[in-house]
């Protein structure tokens, strides 16, 4: 697959100007700023400027106890907070050698996958909003509210979850939640079909996305881009399959990949991922074992043995890695958060050189950025 033809900007030395997009701009999804050097309508250089929502997560990890850092993990990527909860909790469990009861692992998988769908639904609405279609947002938020109702019932919050504990989860799920999951799976499947006819097959959308914003496999590798970005370039890299964690080994699901590497491929990957998440939820609900949801032997004051420990999960936007360094005290020595959006955005400058401005904004939307995830 070669790079689609890009209309080259004129070679003649001509007047360029700098266009500032953001930090307050509806297309940047938050407080990202882009410094664009433009030649007419063509971008010569697009330099992202970050840090407008830097919230000191890593420094805060060093001055509060292991458990006190938990609420922070819900506020890094607030759209897919469950996966971030999971990575941090599992890293500490790995360090302190805490076993997790099987029921808790299943609940973690169900809630993470529900959260992944709700995150992709927000992306779906917001991405199409960027491209000029307002209606899909209303459909997407309608479905998303159903998920939030269920998650709110078990976790107590709609968005910034702090549900997982060292050694399990804090609340058991009830029969209502299980029934809600089944109903939701039955509800979303026809809705995904409707999204296909309503949006995916729309000729205007295809013209806006097909062949736009080519990202090669090599570029993904060099920049460390993961998640739907690398899968949209045809690499079946998914932490759930390659480094299986929790109980993901026990489920039958596919990793959707599309080799085209353009915005449409990344769009299709996410749409297909929602269907795969539904499959996981369905299987997990069927297999959900009985038993406790919180391991009983967790000490109240946690002091993991000295050393450094990593845990990577597949968050909605890609690979999220937590590295914790312990020096056998109540407070972490260092918490390093490797977030997917940071790496995914870093290739933006190379990917958009020579592109037209509206296409670059389509690329930005197809990367699915959450800005506090970049800035931490």
């Amino acid at each position: 697959m070669s790079a689609p033809e890009v209309i080259p900007a004129s070679d003649k030395p001509c007047e360029t100007f700098v266009l500032n997009v953001g930090p307050q701009h509806p297309a940047t999804h938050g407080v990202l700023r882009l410094k664009l050097t433009m030649d007419g309508e063509y971008i010569m250089r697009a330099e992202p400027v970050c840090g407008y929502i830097h919230r000191m997560h890593e420094k805060m990890g060093e001055n509060r106890t292991w458990a006190q850092f938990l609420p922070n993990t819900g506020r890094i990527d607030y759209l897919a907070a469950m996966a971030y909860n999971h990575a941090y909790v599992a890293a500490v469990e790995r360090a302190a050698k805490i076993a997790v009861p099987p029921r808790a692992e299943y609940i973690r998988v169900i809630t993470t996958e529900l959260n992944r769908i709700s995150s992709h639904l927000v992306w779906f609405g917001a991405f199409l909003l960027d491209l000029g279609g307002f209606t899909p947002l209303l459909y997407a938020f309608d479905d998303r509210e159903q998920i939030l109702d269920m998650l709110e019932a078990v976790t107590g919050s709609r968005l910034t979850y702090c549900y997982y504990r060292f050694g399990g989860v804090c609340n058991d799920v009830d029969a209502d939640f299980i029934r809600g999951c089944r109903d939701f799976v039955a509800r979303l499947r026809p809705r995904l079909k409707m999204y296909r006819t309503l949006v995916t097959d729309n000729i205007i959308l295809r013209k806006r996305l097909e062949g736009i914003g080519f990202i090669s496999q090599e570029m993904c590798r060099k920049y460390g881009a993961t998640g739907p970005v690398i899968r949209g370039s045809g690499v079946a890299y998914d932490v759930r399959k390659i480094e299986p964690y929790s109980v993901y080994r026990e489920f039958d699901f596919d990793i959707p990949t599309f080799p085209e590497g353009d915005c449409m491929a990344r769009y299709l990957v996410r749409m297909e991922e929602m269907a795969q998440s539904l499959r996981i939820i369905e299987q997990a609900v069927d297999k959900l074992p009985d038993g406790p949801v919180l391991s009983s032997g967790v000490p109240r004051v946690l002091k993991p043995p000295a050393g450094d420990y990593c845990f990577a999960v597949e968050a909605a936007r890609g690979r999220f890695l937590v590295r914790i360094v312990s020096d056998n005290k109540e407070i972490p020595y260092r918490v390093r958060l490797r977030t997917p959006c940071f790496s995914n955005l870093s290739l933006f400058e190379e990917a958009t050189a020579g592109m037209m401005l509206p296409d670059a904004l389509a690329v930005l939307g197809s990367l699915d950025l959450v800005i506090p995830d970049i800035d931490r």
């Binding site: 930090p23 307050q24 701009h25 509806p26 999804h29 938050g30 407080v31 840090g51 407008y52 929502i53 830097h54 919230r55 000191m56 420094k59 805060m60 001055n63 509060r64 609420p71 922070n72 506020r75 607030y78 759209l79 927000v122 609405g125 917001a126 947002l137 209303l138 459909y139 938020f141 309608d142 998303r144 509210e145 709609r158 968005l159 910034t160 800005i371 506090p372």
Partner: protein, 169 residues
């Protein structure tokens, strides 16, 4: 009944006299145009408030405008850090009078969960930058809380509440 009298009675049904100030306040309160300005987590709840279920347009406040020149209420939805503060201040200064500010969420109220002794990045409350009319607590506040905040702002503008309140049983 004499025709003139009937006419004036009918007119009183459709013509009301009020002070121009009150009329202006009423129309402002009925059509608050917020600035499309999301900072962090609270912005997602702000989007949810404008989307299907919560439907902010019932209260006339759904016309989110990306340009500060066209907006008259700024919903500060999220954490403001030291790098962002000058930009937020500029946005506030660019908005035309009369203008109002809603501080949504704990970060905009006081810095929220990101404040600790010796922190280096976060502005501890948007009221350090410019005056705030309504504070909405929560981390993040629910969309209903945002709607209630907007109703409180209407109350501030018109001096009376136009919507019923629900008292807990």
């Amino acid at each position: 009944m004499e025709p003139e009298k009937a006419c004036s009675q009918d007119l009183s049904q459709i013509i009301k006299f009020a002070k121009l100030d009150e009329l202006l306040d009423l129309s402002r309160a009925n059509s608050l145009w917020p600035l499309t300005f999301g900072l962090a987590c609270c912005a997602i709840e702000m989007m949810a408030a404008g989307a299907s279920r919560f439907d902010l347009s019932r209260f006339g406040a759904e016309v989110f405008r990306p340009s500060p020149r066209q907006a008259d209420v700024m919903i500060v939805a999220g954490t403001i850090n030291k790098k962002m503060a000058p930009a937020v201040k500029t946005l506030y200064d660019q908005m035309l009078e009369p203008k109002w500010v809603i501080a949504m969420g704990n970060c905009a109220i006081s810095g929220g969960p990101f404040v600790y002794p010796g922190q280096y990045a976060v502005i501890e409350g948007v009221d350090k930058l410019f005056p705030v009319d309504v504070f909405i607590p929560g981390c993040p506040p629910r969309p209903e809380a945002l709607i209630e905040g907007i109703l409180k702002l209407e109350e501030k503008l018109t001096g009376k509440r136009r919507w019923p309140t629900v008292t807990p049983q």
